[in-house]
């Protein structure tokens, strides 16, 4: 490709033809603010905050959408540019409910950051303001259009990346608003609860439904033994909320913080992920050896993915593994095996999970998720909510002991369970176990690198007892849709498919710490967080689910063997067809 030479603020820079000014400026060492643009996602040029001056060009141009030209001289920070950005920001503020003092996004709000940087007068323009009802009907998400700046990032991620398509801009002019069709609540449209819209929102217009008060009620109840379990990917991102760089492992500090908050037991959901592998792996081998079984088999860990298939591909529900998700298996094991072992009434055991996810808040309300006659899970917090609790409880995160360990007796998972947090992790963990169980031989190499990385769809072929097994891994629901359409058309060559609703998997889940667009321009967030998991996996000795001593004990003392009657009662579930509208 041809290169183009230009100058940004006098600094010469050479970039490939077709590059946008914004990226050329980053290369030259200058940041340009953006409120609508987000890398690989949204390019609406609607916010007008990224305007720059181009020499011999009368008008200011948007850096996010203007392509570079040979000899171009771009000025990103002139008085004219700054004045324009300031007015734009002040106009946005004029129709923004400025509840910054109590807004959950305060401190991570891109609008707030820029308004401060540009010295905006928050009350410069007073006039008519929209006043919308807050949509908080779902158990997982709150949309407050009073804080929306109409950037359309949420629309792009919902419609283009996830192909869920339950929101878009409606009406026009001052009445324009991002909403679901026919004024419906998100609770009445086929929203899958992936929460990717929250992650890309520049303001506090989208946030998770807060479950902190529910958890505090449980903690304050003396009759309850409150157990908390943490999902694999939480430890890979929690530190960001406390100023640590993206990609910092804070497992020990996270455990210490949960103990300091006052949970009676702090366990690792990785252990339940190991159980998922045992159950799902066995189910897969069963299907593989049964000529009448429905194939390909598809994983069922991702709660957003389950909602997606229930709404959009109900005819493929028989392809789903019947395994509960690790969260639900965790709760089920706590309220059956663990309660029994500790002599506790399951009614007095409360199970809370820390998840990178908002769909888990919905998942715990599903039918057929009550192994002990009471719901498997009582409440689920996102990584962000946990961070808020830690701050609210006055815990000095920096001083927490990074070597703090999970509680015994069933605290620890293998690193096969740990890598569930990244796209491809479930498949790799399953292959480690399935290959050894099927062949009875120990694998020389357990790194299945073909299924690693953040590519949307990955595929590989493995040989099991001389038989070729075709596998595929997809993350992001747009990619999942492609694989489902293949199955529907009878063209799928796969035997086993892993699907995660969020692009990059749980490390980039809808409940993870917010990363602003400036940072996303230069960092691959999902890959960097996943690096934490793979690094731990590389160093650990316990890297296979079936070798986890806790897993062995659970089968010996309680479940008998994988897919036993008891295991089916406690660890498996059913799905339902859902009407879209």
């Amino acid at each position: 490709m041809k290169n183009v030479n230009l100058k940004v603020n006098g600094v010469p820079v050479t970039v490939p033809e077709g590059t946008r000014i914004l990226d050329a400026a980053i290369k030259a060492g200058f940041n340009i603010p953006t409120l609508c643009y987000m890398k690989d996602l949204c390019n609406e040029s609607s916010c007008r905050v990224c305007v720059v001056e181009i020499k011999n060009n009368r008008k200011l141009m948007t850096a996010c959408s203007t392509v570079v030209a040979e000899g171009m001289e771009v000025l990103t920070n002139t008085p004219k540019v700054r004045a324009s950005r300031k007015i734009t920001l002040e106009l946005m503020l004029s129709n923004h409910h400025k509840e910054c003092l109590s807004c959950v996004r305060s401190g991570k709000c891109e609008l707030q950051t820029l308004a401060t940087e540009y010295g905006c007068d928050y009350a410069k323009y007073s006039g008519e303001m929209n006043d919308y009802n807050v949509d908080d009907a779902t158990p997982y998400l709150v949309r407050d259009n009073n804080k929306c700046i109409l950037c359309r990032r949420c629309v792009a991620v919902c419609n283009k990346v996830q192909t869920v398509g339950v929101i878009d801009a409606g009406n026009r002019g001052f009445a324009t608003k991002i909403a679901s069709p026919f004024g419906k609540s998100l609770n009445d449209v086929p929203c899958v609860a992936c929460g990717q819209c929250i992650n890309v929102c520049p303001t506090g217009a989208l946030r998770e439904k807060d479950s902190i008060s529910e958890v505090e009620k449980l903690l304050a109840d003396p009759s309850k033994t409150v157990i908390v379990g943490t999902a694999p990917s939480v430890r890979a991102a929690l530190g960001e909320e406390f100023g640590y760089p993206i990609g910092t492992d804070t497992e020990g500090k996270m455990v210490a913080a949960l103990k300091a908050i006052g949970f009676d037991k702090v366990f690792d959901v990785d252990m339940a992920a190991d159980m998922t592998i045992m159950e799902e792996g066995t189910e897969f081998l069963g299907r593989l050896n049964n000529p009448n079984a429905v194939m390909p088999m598809i994983t069922s860990c991702s709660a957003g993915w389950i909602r997606f298939i229930e709404y959009n591909y109900p005819e493929l529900l028989p392809n789903l593994s019947s395994c509960k998700s690790p969260q639900q298996m965790f709760g089920a094991i706590m309220k059956t095996y663990y309660a029994e072992k500790m002599g506790l009434d399951p009614k007095n055991v409360a199970v809370v999970t820390i998840m990178p996810c908002i769909a888990k808040k919905f998942e715990l309300t599903r039918d057929d998720q009550s192994a002990a006659g009471v719901p498997d899970i009582d409440a689920s917090l996102t990584t962000r909510e946990l961070a808020r609790m830690i701050k609210n409880y006055g815990i000095n995160f920096a001083k927490l002991d990074p070597k703090t360990e999970f509680d015994n007796p069933i605290g620890k998972g293998s690193t096969a369970g740990l890598i569930f947090g990244a796209t491809g992790g479930v498949m790799e963990a399953a292959l480690r176990t399935v290959a050894e169980v099927a062949t009875g031989k120990t694998l020389d190499n357990i790194d299945f690198k073909a299924v690693r990385g953040t590519k949307g769809i990955k595929e590989a072929t493995v040989t099991l007892n001389g038989k070729q097994i075709n596998i595929a891994v997809a993350s992001g629901l747009g990619n999942a849709r492609k694989l489902m359409d293949e199955i529907k058309a009878g063209k799928s060559k796969y035997h086993f498919i892993e699907i995660m609703a969020c692009p990059g998997g749980c490390v980039n889940g809808g409940g993870q710490p917010i990363v602003d667009s400036q940072t996303r321009n230069i960092v691959d967030v999902a890959k960097t967080r996943a690096g934490v998991l793979y690094k731990k996996d590389k160093k650990d000795v316990l890297r296979k689910s079936h070798e986890n001593p806790i897993v062995k004990t659970l089968y010996k003392e309680y479940f008998g063997e994988p897919n036993s009657h008891k295991a089916h009662e406690v660890l498996h579930t059913t799905y339902v067809k859902r009407d879209r509208y």
Binding site: N159, G165, I167, D168, G170, R172, P181, F182, Y581
Partner: protein
């Protein structure tokens, strides 16, 4: 929705199968057939062309030509173009709105009247002007609103 209309609609979708940018054309033709664009019709358009319903709905609410409610038997369209507005059509439409208990752009709960605000309809000499089911009334006043309504209420 009758079978005959559904068949017409299905033919319209089929005819637009290979046309670039078919969604708005399908919406216009669907409205010609059904008189408005209910959820079921929008969903059919969305699924047929592989776009989200939210996008079809976004288009339907962006352009004033699209209706989301079944139109009433009697359509009152008050011109709010510049000349009519200056001559007082704002008061006229407000009075209709008050007497019929319906906001402009909507239909009365008994399905009888639809009240609409229109742009210039090209007879500014008669300002303020309105039409009732296509019949033109010129130089209307707030007082004449009662007479006009009385006429259609008798009918």
């Amino acid at each position: 929705m009758t079978d005959e209309k559904d068949m017409q609609f299905a033919a319209v979708l089929e005819s637009l199968k290979d046309v670039p940018g078919p969604v708005m054309m399908a919406m216009q033709k669907a409205q010609d057939i059904y008189g408005y664009l209910p959820l079921e019709v929008q969903l059919k358009i969305a699924d047929y062309f592989g776009v989200p319903l939210s996008t079809v709905y976004g288009i339907a609410t962006f352009y004033s030509q699209f209706r989301l409610e079944q139109p009433g038997q009697i359509k009152i369209a008050v011109c709010l173009g510049t000349a009519c507005y200056v001559k007082g059509s704002g008061g006229v439409i407000d009075k209709f709105s008050r007497l019929l208990s319906v906001e402009p752009g909507h239909t009365t709960s008994d399905g009888r009247f639809t009240l609409e605000a229109t742009r210039c309809i090209g007879c500014c000499g008669l300002a303020p002007v309105l039409t009732v089911n296509g019949e033109v009334y010129g130089k209307v006043t707030e007082d004449s609103v009662d007479e006009i309504l009385a006429k259609y209420n008798e009918a």
